[in-house]
Symmetry: C2
Subunit: 150 residues, 2 copies
Amino acid sequence: MEQIDDIDLQLLNILHDNSKYTVKELAKMVNLSASPVFERIKRLENSGYIKKYIALLDAEKLNRGFIVFCNIKLKQHDRNIGNQFVSDIMKIEEVVECYNISGDYDFLMKVSAKDMKHYQDFVFNKLGSVESIGSTQSTFVMSEIKNLYG
Amino acid sequence: MEQIDDIDLQLLNILHDNSKYTVKELAKMVNLSASPVFERIKRLENSGYIKKYIALLDAEKLNRGFIVFCNIKLKQHDRNIGNQFVSDIMKIEEVVECYNISGDYDFLMKVSAKDMKHYQDFVFNKLGSVESIGSTQSTFVMSEIKNLYG
DNA sequence: ATATTTGAAGAATTTTATTCTGTATTAGAA
DNA sequence: TTCTAATACAGAATAAAATTCTTCAAATAT
């Protein structure tokens, strides 16, 4: 796919932080008129540099401010168990992110709960019914220092 | 702040996944006309349920597809060292997220690099010059399974 | 040097956001 | 219960934004 120049990069950085600017405002920021900026953004969308636009919500207000990183070890390491785990995890709303990782554990999940009680319930009742899981290890977030997506 | 009802929740869930719907489209989805939907969204923004709107970018295309979770232990556990670490880390662009955590390590960072070479350079040159760091432990992401923000 | 392509500006148009007005419903006060 | 006030909605009117179109200038290829 095509090249992207410095102005494209500026636009991407701006929109990554705030996608609500109007094209007129963006145009002023990058010293162009509205139409080329509009065209550039469409090009960045169509070429996949911009994947989507989303609203960031306040986790605390929505009773999801208790964050835990949960490490998972599978029972066995065959493809069936792995696929089963993935498909089970996709359905659990508290699991906000999940990665297949190197090291002592197989997966690292970011879990978003209301509080410790909710998390405990999540571990027992939700993870507890995922057959493919061998063991888990929880790391609790005490405070969020930096989050470019939060 | 005020209560939030089921329709508000529907709107939040929709916008969390795609903030580009028009109010007319949203209105149809929640079976209302445009004006109350518009007012509800403004209310959700002003009350802080919606924090901001952002564009999600393709990390791979932007040479940031190599993800590592990097655990950090501080040299010492006093407030000065901690503050120094936080302020240093905030300036490093490869650090996309950072949390103060429970357990063996003090902080967990999500790092976004181009490739292993870039990550190595990050560890040596960027982390290497953060005085407050005692030790690090890297966990490499082999694949992303789920990410509500990606 | 000339033709062709590219990217931009600015105007014109279409679509969307936003405001406004009126009405029905509901909660609370009398 | 009855009246009043507040709330939430629909639909129209308006303002602002997105989107398209035309033209022009600069860069590149021929």
